[in-house]
Structure formats: C-alpha cells, structure tokens
Amino acid sequence: MSFWRRFARNLGAMVGLAILALVALMAVLAPVLFPFSPWEMRGIPFMPPGEAGFLLGSDSLGRDVAAGIAHGALVSFLVGGVSTVAALLLGVTLGALAGYAGGWVDDAIMRFTEFFQTIPSFVLAVVLVAIFTPSIASIVVSIAIVSWPPVTRVVRAEFLSLRSREFVQAAEVLGRGRIAIMVTEILPNALSPIIVLASLMVATAILLESSLSFLGLGDPNLMSWGFMIGSGRSVIRIAWWMSVFPGIAIFLTVLALNLVGEGLNDALNPRLARRRGIVVT
C-alpha cells in the first residue's frame, strides 16, 4: 500500500493536515485579508470580538487581534521551521557520526548529548535568549540548541542499528567511502523517524517560542502568537479574547502538527503503526 493511502486512512492525520493547510493558507493570505500592519492601531482598544469591525476583538492599543493572528502564523511557522531545520542539521550530523563511528566518538558525543539533556531545556532556552537579547535570531538559535539532543539520540540509534545491517556491510565490502555510506546508504533509511520527529519538533518549537514570549523574551518587532498571549495575559480579565484566540491558534497548530506527525509515523512505519511517537524534548 502506498504511503499516501496509508496516511490518508488515518482520520486524525487528515484532520491535522487540513488544519495545517488552513493555517498555511492564512499565513499566505494574511497580506490580502488584512492589508495593513498588524501593529497598526485601527480603532478603540479592548473591543470584544465582533464589535467595531474587529472579528476577534481589539487589543489594548486598538490593534486587530484577527490581523495579528493571521500575520503571526507566518512568524510561528518561521520560528518553528527554521529552528527545527537548524536543530536537525546539528542533531543529524552528531547522531550520524556517533552511530556510524561508534567507539570513543560515540561515547564522547553521547556524553555531550546527555549533558545537554540534563540541563532543563526550557531553563537553558530562557538563559540563552536572555544572554543574546531577545530577537528572532536568538530565539531560533536558542530553540535549536535545546532541541537537537533528541534528534541525535534517534539518529544515532537508527545509524547504530542500520550500520550493522547487511546492506551497509555490503557497501563496505564494495569499498564505498564512509561519507557515501552514511549519506546514501544509511541516511535515506533513517529518514522516517527523522521526518516524524521533525514534525513534532516544529510543534514543540512553536510552544517554546510562545513560552519565551510569555516571559517577555520574544522579538518585539514580530507579531507572533506567543507575543500576543504574552501581551494579552495581563489583561485577561478585561479582554480574554486577546490571549484566548492566539492560544487557540497555537493549540490548533501544535495539535495539527502532532496529528500529522502521528500519521506520518503510522504511514512510514506500518509495522509499528500502533506505537505512537512520543518525542522526548
């Protein structure tokens, strides 16, 4: 059965994909739907949803919450995507090295990884962002720095098991180079768990970004969902919509990413279909 058919059979995954598609559409259409800066103060502050032309209400400066959510989608995806890619680059490289080389290289890399896992990741992210001062770059880098250890562990485990697989040994016996073996023989076969992990990492990164923003460690120039909750939380009693709607946006996106991740997991590893991917972040 093809990958797509297996994936499409999973109701949750399809729902997740639909939500993601909607959010992506919203991100793309934001400049059309709300052809103005989300920072623009367009009306009376603290308007409840539906009043004064504000679909989801207005915030403490009279900015449009709906516009913020639409424009923030891109930022959330950007933060999630870029930090995940960065974490993957680091994690896959280290994991591949550790798993393929084995021996002291493996030991050293794994100790290093364990070390990073012993430091509470959120605490480390907070410290890093505070040190580099909050900006989109420092947030992305910090999220990447705290997100790579699980990747390394997963990739290492895959490489370790694949390394002793006979097709890899066959490549060794054929005289192929080490890097060629790692990149063309092992890596393509280790992709499924990496893809699954990546989809969940994007979700985790979006959550992390919102948590950082909540503590006041967001990028002040970007309208992100986390920022919106962070700025709305202090007025939650007067204007619940300011934090509730961005919260729902985060929830839906993270949920969708998780559903898609599970769907991918089931479709890519049919034998382990029932083993739900839990990412240890």
């Binding site: 103060m41 603290f46 400066l61 006041g216 967001g218 002040p220 202090s234 007025v235 009693r237 007067i238």
Partner: protein, 539 residues
C-alpha cells in the same frame, strides 16, 4: 529654637519650614485633629499589601530601589520629610534653623527615640549616618553630602552641619528615602554592605522587622516603643510578593490586600478600580519624586544629532494619546524638562505639540525624502524593560514615527543589558524615566549638563551639551535665593526646549489604591514612603 527659626523665615524655604513645624505638618496629626475631621483613629488590624518586585535587602542606603524605599521607610526614618508642595516637615528632627548666610543648619532631634533593639537614638547616630554611612554607600546622597564642610553634635539631641557654600535645596536630602538614619552601634567600623545585620534591619520607625520568607512575604509588627505615644495604630504590615500583575489586581479586587502602590496595578486596570466603591484611587504622593519619562536620544549620532530631527520626532508623538490610551489617565503629558510638580517648573515653556504635518515639513526641510516604502530614516529604539505598559509605549512610538516616515526597529533587553548599553552609550534611542527629587539641581541638572556626560547610567548619557545651559544650571545651583534660582531655571528650560535633546513624554504618576477603611495613607510629598505611623484601619 523658635527664634532661630524666625530668623530663617526670610528665605522661602525657611518660611515654609516654620509653618511645617507648627500646624501644617501632616505627619503630626493629633488625635484631636482626627476626631475633628470625623474619623477617630482606631488601634489594631494588620495591613496586608503588596510589594513588587521583591526588594533584595531592606537596608536603606545599601539599596535604594523603589520597593526597598517603600518597605524600609516603615522601619527607618529620616530627619525630615517633605510636604506635597515640597517643603520640609519634621520627622526625627522636631525643628531646624538655617543661618542667614545659608551655610549652617542646626537640627533639634526628637527626644525619647529608641532603636528597635532598645538603644537610644542620639546625635551621634545622625552624624554617623550622614557623614559615614550614606557618604560611602549612597551615590545620590553623596553628591550633596560632599558639600558639608563640618558636622557637629553639640549635645545628644542637636546636630549642626556647616556647608562649604550655600545650597538652597539642602533640606530636601533629609527624607528617609534619601538619607535614612541607621544605628551607629551596629554599623560603625563594619563593612556596611556585607554587615550580617543587614538581614535584620534595626531602625527607629513605627514598625519592626519580623519575618521575611523570600519570594513570599515580608512581615513587620508594631514597634511598641515608638516615640510617638499610642502610635502606630496598625498592629503590623504584611507585604506580599506577587510577581504577576493580574494576581495582584485580583488580590486587591477580592480584598486579600487592602493597598497597592507604585507599579503594582497596571494602568489599564486603574479605571476598573476607580469604579469599585470600596476603594480609593490616589494619584498623588509622588511629588517629591516626580518621575518624568522621555525618549532618550543619543545626540552623537547622525540625524539624531540634528535638533530639527529631534523636533520632528517630538511633533510626531501624541502625548495625549499616551496619557489616555496607555496610562489610562494616570499621569499627564509632559511639557518640558521639569515636571510640573517639581519646584521651579515654568508653565510658560511648552515643548513642540503633536503635529505630524509639521514633523513631515521639518524632515522634508532636512532633505530626508521618503523612499518607495515611505521611509525617510531608520532608527533603533531600545525598549525599557520595565513591564507591559512600557512595551506598549515603544510599540506606539514605532507606529507614530512610521507616520512621519521614520522607521523604528525595537530592541529588547533586560534590566542589566539596558543599563549597560545606556551607560556605554550603545543605543540610538531608548525610553528612560528618572526621579526629579523635588528640585532641578537634585534631579534635572544631571541629565543635561556637559560635566555629567559620563559612561554611567542616569547621567547625561544622551551626550547633550550646551554651554549656556551648563552655565544656567551652575548658577542656579549656587544661588542662595529661591527667586534667583527660579529665574535661572526658567531660562534653562527655554534653552533646553529649543534644543530638544530628548523628547519628553509623560509626567508619570503611580496609583495608590487602597481600601476606603484605610486612613491617612497619603499625607506627604512622598506618599506611601511615609512611616505609616498614623495610618489606621477604621472598623
């Protein structure tokens, strides 16, 4: 004593002193007066209130942060305090005189005052506190105390200071928030900052330190040996540490606390509490501090060093919007470099009004033409890390500047990073606010004079320099007579507004919100920094 006081009455300040010492002293309301007003002070009850952020230590002088001042001012006392109109009023000194040449000040101390550990409070303590303790640990006080030539204690209850030169605002430095009296027998000869006794403050005030659970609460109890008979009225005060502003608002709303001060309540919550019938919202009590906020502009940089550009920035900002929309009417728009509640404010001096068209015209005149995106110039604004409202302010400024074609990029920092960059002049623009300490010489001069361009925060970090302004502040500092000073300061205000080294935004006010049953909360120019010995909870 009174005769000497009368001699001093020729000076404006001295005349008011006399009044203060007799009838107008708000801190000295007697039982009879209170009954006359229809509220009988009731003894008993604990005041539950909030303090944010948690003070690191409660020793005044060693630490002078806002929360420390509010809490520790119940434990410690100064020689004087100030009235809402910024005249001195008695505290540990029951009266004082100034010599005609303006050089010698003599204080008569209250008698029967005891430290919380039972030792007597004497003139020795005063000399030690002023000349040793604050001289070493307290940078703000030091700048003024260095003008003292000689400090003597003729007897146990008299202290005399002789200045090197006349200094008209001298008495403003004796408030508890500036120069608290500390016990000599504990601190003399020790390392003040690391004295183990810093964990258990000993003062003369109406409340004694009882317990401090870090991150949780500070509890103080009535000082039974307090030198004012039958006072304080309250059994104690408990300061809860509540880092989350909404939790604070809830606590106030539900009556878990009876008072909030300073930044406890965010401005947007204030209108709500003004509606609540059991609460009083007071916006006064900050006259002594008169915090003034502004856009700090690095006058050394391109564009920003051009007064026209700065004027354009000023024209772009709607200060009424800021006052109404961001601060919800708490505080008022600034008019110039000296806050209206500070002495020598000149109401005739007005900074450029909100007028984007004018701003555009100025920028056009400078040759800064908008590009395709409508951007004439780009600047960075370093956010001040003091909470939500300040972030909203920088977001507003970004939008406002964009309206006249100035693109603003925000930079985010925390307190340490902000102070470091401010001190190192590593910023283009930022927002700043400072206390004015009642007198331009004490709290305004430092921001504008060339001699104070230093790599230290809260100096003239903008790098503004105008020899004429320097001269005017210098003259005002040394002038012995208030009228002369008023003239000089008016002149200085005009010059500064012409140059617009900064764009002043708001004369800040901090709401003190309290239960209506809580009486006498704000009686002085320092508001909640008073000793609270006369505060009581009516039944």
């Amino acid at each position: 004593m009174m005769t000497e006081a009368r001699k001093a009455a020729t000076s404006a300040l001295g005349r008011r002193t006399l009044l203060a010492a007799s009838a107008a002293a708000p801190a000295l309301m007697t039982l009879g007066e209170a009954r006359a007003q229809g509220v009988a002070p009731r003894r008993g009850g604990v005041l539950n209130t909030i303090i944010t952020p948690e003070p690191p230590v409660l020793i005044l002088g060693v630490n002078n942060q806002g929360p420390t001042l509010i809490v520790a001012s119940k434990i410690y006392q100064g020689l004087l305090t100030v009235t809402p109109s910024l005249d001195p009023a008695p505290d540990l000194a029951k009266s004082w005189t100034r010599s005609d040449d303006g050089l010698t000040y003599t204080f008569a101390l209250q008698e029967g005052v005891k430290w919380h550990d039972g030792r007597d409070f004497t003139s020795e303590d005063v000399i030690f506190s002023i000349m040793k303790f604050h001289m070493e640990v307290n940078p703000r006080a030091r700048a003024i105390l260095q003008r003292i030539d000689k400090a003597e204690a003729p007897d146990a209850h008299t202290v005399r200071f002789t200045l090197k030169a006349p200094f008209e605002p001298f008495l403003l430095i004796f408030d508890v928030t500036a120069c608290a009296m500390v016990p000599k027998h504990i601190y003399d000869g020790t390392d003040f900052r690391n004295n183990p006794a810093n964990a258990t403050p000993i003062g003369t005030g109406p409340f004694k330190f009882a317990e401090w659970q870090r991150g949780n609460f500070i509890r103080m109890v009535r000082n039974e040996q307090y030198w004012k008979p039958n006072q304080p009225y309250l059994d104690g005060i408990t300061w809860r540490i509540v880092p989350d502003s909404q939790s604070r608002a809830l606590a106030l709303q539900t009556g878990q606390v009876q008072m909030t001060t300073s930044n406890d309540i965010e401005p947007f919550d204030v209108p709500r509490f003004q509606q609540q019938p059991n609460l009083t919202v007071a916006l006064n009590g900050w006259e002594y501090f008169s915090p003034l906020s502004w856009i700090e502009i690095n006058n050394r940089l391109d564009n920003l060093k051009d007064p026209r550009f700065r004027r354009a920035m000023a024209h772009a900002v709607d200060r009424n919007f800021i006052a109404q929309r961001l601060w919800f009417g708490v505080g008022k728009p600034a008019t110039g470099p000296i806050a209206s509640t500070t002495r020598f404010h000149d109401p005739s001096v007005q900074m450029p009004a909100f007028n984007p068209r004018e701003a555009n015209a100025i920028l056009d005149g400078m040759g800064l033409r908008p590009n395709a995106q409508g951007v004439r110039a780009s600047i960075k604004l370093m956010q001040i890390p003091y909470g939500e409202v300040w972030n909203r302010l920088s977001e507003y400024l970004r939008q406002a500047m964009r309206q006249v074609g100035i693109e603003v990029t925000l930079e985010s920092t925390d307190v340490a990073g902000w102070v470091r960059r401010l001190a190192a002049w590593e910023f283009e623009t930022t927002i700043n606010f400072v206390y004015q300490w009642g007198d331009p010489t004490l709290g305004v001069e430092r921001t504008y004079v060339t001699s104070n361009i230093q790599k230290v925060a809260f100096t003239n970090t903008a790098g503004y320099s105008n020899p004429e302004v320097d001269r005017l502040f210098e003259a005002a500092r040394n002038a012995a007579q208030a009228e002369e000073r008023r003239r000089l300061f008016s002149e200085a205000q005009k010059k500064i507004v012409e140059d617009m080294p900064l764009v002043w935004l708001m004369e800040l006010a901090f709401p003190t919100i309290h239960d209506k049953r809580l009486n006498n909360v704000i009686r002085t120019g320092t508001g909640v920094h008073a000793s609270f010995d006369d505060v009581f909870l009516s039944a």
